[in-house]
Amino acid sequence: MSAGPLVDKIDPFKRSPKKKPKKSQGSSRYHSGSEADLQPLPLLKDVPAGEQEELFIRKLRQCCLGFDFLDPVADLKGKEIKRASLTELVDYITAGRGVLTEPVYPEIIRTITSNLFRTLPPSDNPDFDPEEDDPTLEASWPHLQVIYLVYEFFLRFLESPDFQPGIGKKVIDQKFVLQLLELFDSEDPRERDFLKTVLHRIYGKFLGLRAFIRKQINNIFLRFIYETEHFNGVSELLEILGSIINGFALPLKLEHKQFLVKVLLPLHKVKCLSLYHAQLAYCVVQFLEKDPSLTEEVIRGLLKYWPKTCSQKEVMFLGEIEEILDVTEPAQFIKIQEPLFKQISRCVSSPHFQVAERALYLWNNEYVMSLIEENSAAIMPIMFPALYRISKEHWNQTIVALVYNVLKTFMEMNSKLFDELTATYKTERQKEKKKEKERDELWRKLAELEISHRRREPSAKTNATGGVALAKQSPPTLK
């Protein structure tokens, strides 16, 4: 500071003598000064029809002004004017006909942009657990009221019978949509709900934007899966996608199939799956109803991402499997029955009772039962050993009772196969036990041999005989 102006220019840390205005932490930017701008305007219904468009635009411009809602007493009059204006505009757009003239469109978009588009504040609670904690809502209620009014207004605008996509597409462009998508990360669930409906309508009406929107959603999801594992709007976006998938034309485009395999399936592996599993499962099932030939890929994908340490997720996966099986055609079922039931038999053997319970409960689904019945020769041998073993070993009595149900069902399905499997299982168990006994016997003999060998020659190496004997033994089999 004491050096000359030359040094000042190159010193990056020199603070500007001017004090920077304090940046607002809330999402509303406040308008410095001029309350004079916000004069109360006459009501739209009070002016003649010819002047309504101009008044409408003036009101819209008024509503572009932001207020500092962190300070509850500042600009009370202005805030009230804005709020009342917005309420009036919502009604005006809903009731009126011919109010959406071409000049009005860019003004509306400007109002939306200035009110809604903002950088979302960083989370107050970085350890926010979406399942446990309540979402933090921004600033204060009056501010939210305004925000929601703006959304409501936007929605009515899009849904108005007078809305013309031809004019709208000049102002609702890719840049707008991109900013809209970023807002989906808001922590406010009501805001996300509005955004969901808004984006749904935009997608519906602007065919030219559809590919772009899909691509951007893909990007968001992929970033979520592979980089951040954090995004608050996954379930809302999936809900929109559900309605899109439902409307796919047949035959399905390759792009859509790739989306299923490269985006929807990997979404299953994220830790916070429970937040959006309902919507995700819905999307997957919709895909399969559209194109059943995708069943094999879907099930193999789920098996690939099958949770190995999180039991709650396993229960969710099993629920999804049942929903998928409900829409699986018999020809598709045959392709995946073996790997699927191998996984199910592992689930049934799980020491976590909820996983075992959910897996066993599949047998109470009549359609799944009919699929199993048709293919009992392939499925029973896979399930039988696990079931038989659990009937004797499981700690939970509810599980044991369910296992009885399944075994009884199998017996009724195919008695002969059931008897054969019982006999095979018993003989194999006997063989195993015999082997175990032999192995124990061998180790015992080895131990004795070693002791006697050591006694005779304490200095000599004891490994020689042991090494030879070990080579003779068959390698232990993994259970």
């Binding site: 849904e159 019978p161 809305f163 996509p165 409906t197 749904h200 997608y203 519906g204 009406k205 065919l207 809900e239 559900g242 309605s243 899109i244 439902n246 409307g247 309902a278 919507q279 995700l280 499962a281 819905y282 109803e289 229960v315 969710m316 629920g319 049942e322 929903e323 409900d326 829409v327 009772f353 909820q354 319970e357 959910r358 409960y361 109470n364 009549e366 359609y367 009992s376 020769a377 009937s391 004797k392 939970n396 009595q397 509810t398 009772a401 369910l402 009885y404 149900n405 075994l407 009884k408 017996m411 009724e412 195919n414 008695s415 002969k416 196969l417 019982t422 006999a423 168990r429 036990k433």
Partner: protein, 389 residues
């Protein structure tokens, strides 16, 4: 658990033909005493408590016992003894359908106890006990697993009634079709080479299946066992060897089996075995109506899409979305496949498509079988609520 091979009254497959012959004569002498004379109606004349037990009901109970036998790793002898006792009891007493499950389970328990006693006695005669000692399942456990709606106390009481009615002596082993089957098989193994001998385990399984059909009681045990042997050997030897044919004829003479009765029995056996050998499903009327109890935690989240209440309207590809659309409930929008409940299905099913938790809880709480196959006997009138884990 390992179970030693079927041991019927200590008669092992020792090749002493004279001993076997003697046992056969003794068995034939006692045959009539242990012969059930089932006279069950084939259809229910009047359902409900005052109705009669039909043969279909009896068969259903027999299949439950068969499953329990596998469940508890018990030998065929226990099952056949149990069926024998149950059938003899029902030959003498006109029981009501609601008691059938109790009768069946008590007979099973009784048979298991008697069998264990015999094994203990026999192994007591020899110095070493091979394999783990068989444990008789507890009545409470039997009641829970088989889902019959009676208590352990009921089982104990019924057991005493059955014992008294049949005048069972504890040491006396009932002479059942299995007794004869074992004897015949032992006799065959003394004369036939091993290649021609039928497998006893497979035969026992088939015998169990036959005895689960009420028609078996129309024939004497000795005839039935022989008929099964006959059918089995004939099926498995495309050109029946001269040796085995002669041996069979000799056996038939020893067992005093008449030709006409044998033919009739063979017909019955073939008709029962045909679906079994064809890996077919069992008769729907024999299927047990099962209760599926779940913990509340699992009931809350059965299917992921249950949580979806409102779904956004469909956006058709290549077409613009309509002007005014209301959000609608899922069931109207998604063409979800609703599968009709087939009339013959006796398996317990959930109401379709997506029941709420309240639906499920009340469904399980108020479960009463209303099936035309009258399986209420297995479920009585008590209500059970789903257990909490």
């Amino acid at each position: 658990m390992e179970v030693p091979m079927d041991v019927s009254g200590g008669k092992s497959s020792c090749p002493d033909v004279s001993v076997l012959m003697q046992s056969l004569q003794q068995a034939l002498a006692l045959e009539a005493k242990f012969q059930p004379k089932l006279q069950l109606p084939s259809t229910a004349s009047n359902t409900g408590e005052s109705g009669e037990i039909t043969s279909a009901m009896r068969d259903g109970a027999a299949h439950v016992l068969r499953c329990l036998k596998v469940w508890y790793d018990l030998p065929s002898a226990v099952l056949l003894d149990a069926l024998n006792m149950m059938d003899r009891f029902m030959s003498r007493m006109k029981a009501r359908p609601k008691h059938l499950s109790c009768i069946a389970i008590s007979s099973f328990h009784l048979a298991a106890c008697q069998w264990v006693e015999r094994v203990k006695k026999n192994s007591g005669e020899t110095s070493s006990i091979s394999g783990p000692l068989q444990v008789v399942p507890e009545p409470q456990d039997l009641v829970t697993i088989s889902q019959c709606k009676c208590t352990a106390g009921d089982i104990n009481r019924m057991e005493k009634i059955v014992e008294a009615k049949l005048a069972c002596l504890p040491q006396e082993e009932p002479v059942t079709t299995l007794t004869f089957l074992n004897l015949y098989h032992a006799l065959l193994s003394t004369t036939l080479p091993a290649a021609l001998q039928p497998d006893l385990l497979i035969l026992s399984c088939k015998l169990e299946t036959i005895c689960c059909d009420a028609n078996y009681a129309a024939f004497p045990s000795s005839v039935l066992a022989f008929a099964l042997l006959f059918v089995e050997m004939k099926c498995h030897q495309t050109a029946i060897e001269v040796i085995s044919r002669d041996v069979l004829l000799e056996l038939q003479r020893l067992a005093q089996v008449k030709d006409d009765m044998l033919n009739e029995c063979v017909r019955m056996v073939s008709s029962v075995m045909a679906p079994y050998d064809g890996y077919a499903q069992s008769n729907p009327s024999h299927r047990q109506r099962l209760t599926w109890k779940l913990s509340r935690r699992t009931l809350k989240q059965l299917r992921p899409t249950e949580k979806l209440v409102n779904v956004l309207p469909t956006i058709e590809e290549n077409r613009q979305f309509g002007q005014v659309q209301k959000r609608s409930r899922r069931s109207r929008l998604t063409p979800h496949k609703v599968r009709p409940v087939s009339p013959g299905a006796v398996l317990s099913t959930l109401p379709l498509p997506f029941p709420t938790k309240e639906d499920l809880t009340s469904f399980f709480d108020n479960f009463v079988a209303a099936s035309p196959y009258s399986f209420r006997f297995l479920y009585g009138l008590e209500e059970e609520s789903p257990s909490t884990a």
